[in-house]
Subunit: 353 residues, 2 copies
């Protein structure tokens, strides 16, 4: 392929290897693997999961549920119900089985009020990330939600769904394990207090690290693991050669004095997600040569404008204008979302529009 | 309109007012206004400029030049030439007049080698931002570029193009003026050394602040000023009520204890651009009530995930699930790019695909 503009490419072999490892963890622990599809947003990559026997998925919006409902009929929308989209939900529940997420009694009542068919809900539990959900010690609120569902003739209460988001602040496997331990203890309190309900957990850092799960966990929902990225590598979720995605960027200028290179590749391609290394911002690791060879790191992206990326070179290398560099993005989910498509073995793969 | 998902809206009255002010500055100083269209990326908003008599534009990629070439025939591509796209350029120069940007002799030679028709080039000058361009004291390099163009039968040398990117680090009008002064002194050295060439400058902070330009400046290229955003407000480029863009986001959950609200609106809508205020990250100012009324600020977005935004409330306010909040985004260019469309007076306006 002749990639003359910034282009995202995916390595299917690495992707399938990441998938096999996650399926293995799920199988050994008797867990349902319900991967989060917000990372790839593509029917084609979804089919790679299907071929491996995965039957249920997670999405992050009602729009994304609609998109995947052409191919999947067991979809959990792991985002608190947006009641304004009840019209779309009512259309979907007639044909497919979507599982909804609520995190308050008012949202549940609004749902019950406007729902035109049966629906299953999870209650979102906040184990310390302070983003969404009820805390495990808000027992009265949890009880009234469960009780409300019992009296509803449309809504069934499935159980509890949590996201151990603090794992994203980890710097190594030990810290990931600590987050898992701390979070799972809170979930256990819940499970003890409200037994016999399903419990769904799972983010890429913990699911890539934890090999043994307690029996009260029913399913895991990692997403990013399918491609991984630089952020996951720095967290400790994966090795550098587990990363299945690259942005190919043309060199447009070379500044020998400041040992920097300008690439065509900016925030409209990568997003502005960044890491810090030795007090420098890092927007991607930069490689030259064979695309999937991780031995050829030549520097990192130190700044991004809308279309410009400035690469700081870390080694002497002979480059010329028009060369193509391979960049490992900081955040694969956002790079995929930004690009709207990627290439696998030279074939263009479209994502959700 | 019933905006049930995150939706970007634009206020045409404010937009035109911003445009009028910029036209006024250009006219008073006898400058060509060559606005940067990467902010809105839309044919429709482009027409608003046309109706005000603007005849020349700036874009940030060859793809964007192609997009606007259906309507515009004087387009400067203010991004160093990506020689890998020479095929597209050769098609465009046959029908339209695009002005190119180069910042090295090697890129110029590659262009001369592969060009199939006449082209005009600007030399990119780096006045201290260290992103792209030659420094004003690299006289030998500048001379050889000008001389090369003299001998080329295809390429004409137009002059110098600079971007005073340091203005984006300003915190008030005085700092913006200082950046302008420092940068303009460097440009003057260039103008004295290489007279009779055109000089193109201009970014939103300086163009929104500087009222009097030296005679050796020929044109200005601001872009963001058409909508402005929170970043520009904090820099000192505009007042808060000059901002012509909002993201409408549904409330999906309310956490009274921590005085926070969860909105449907995340990094796939806003991008991850952020500001810092009192040591907190800010991803947008949040308002409730009449959309363009800036007296009703209720808080700010403190964190963004892919679809989630967590709003920190700053005042007691009675909100319910399904309410819609109005958010001033940190970076309008990236929010527009992310969203792919916006609404003006209830009408959907598509941007470049």
């Amino acid at each position: 392929m002749n990639f003359s503009t910034p282009t995202l490419i995916v390595n299917k072999t690495i992707t399938l290897n990441n998938l096999d490892k996650m399926i293995n963890v799920a199988n050994k622990n008797n867990l349902i693997l319900r991967p989060h599809f917000k990372t790839h947003q593509s029917i084609e990559v979804g089919n790679w999961f299907k071929e491996k026997g995965v039957g249920s998925i997670t999405v992050s919006s009602i729009t994304m549920a609609e998109f995947f409902s052409s191919e999947w009929n067991d979809i959990t929308i792991a985002f608190p119900l947006n009641i304004l989209e009840i019209g779309k939900l009512n259309l979907m529940i007639k044909e497919n089985r979507v599982k909804l997420l609520i995190d308050s009694i008012s949202s549940l009542k609004a749902l019950d009020n406007q729902l035109e068919g049966p629906a299953e809900v999870y209650l979102k539990i906040d184990v310390g990330y302070n983003r969404a959900g009820l805390k495990v010690d808000e027992k009265q609120k949890i009880k009234s939600i469960i009780n409300f569902c019992k009296t509803s003739d449309k809504i069934s209460f499935l159980g509890f769904l949590a996201h151990f988001g603090d794992s994203y602040k980890s710097k190594n496997k030990m810290e990931i394990k600590n987050v898992f331990q701390k979070s799972i203890e809170r979930i256990k309190v819940l499970s003890d207090g409200f037994p016999n309900f399903r419990i769904s957990i799972g983010d890429t850092p913990t699911c890539s690290t934890i090999k043994k799960y307690p029996d009260f966990i029913n399913e895991i929902r990692p997403g990013n693991f399918i491609f991984y990225d630089l952020a996951q590598y720095k967290i400790g979720s994966c090795e550098i050669d587990d990363i299945a995605i690259r942005m190919i960027c043309p060199v447009v200028s070379i500044y020998e004095e400041r040992e920097e290179v300008l690439i065509y590749g900016g925030s409209v391609h990568f997003s502005k997600d960044r890491l810090t290394e030795n007090e420098s911002d890092i927007f991607g690791y930069v490689y030259f040569g064979e695309v999937w060879d991780v031995s050829n790191k030549i520097g990192y992206i130190k700044s991004l404008s809308q279309e410009h990326g400035v690469v700081k070179l870390e080694k002497q290398i002979s480059l010329k204008i028009g060369d193509k560099l391979n960049v490992i993005p900081v955040h694969s989910c956002l790079a995929v979302d930004k690009m709207g498509a990627f290439y696998e073995s030279g074939k263009r793969v479209e994502i959700m529009k």
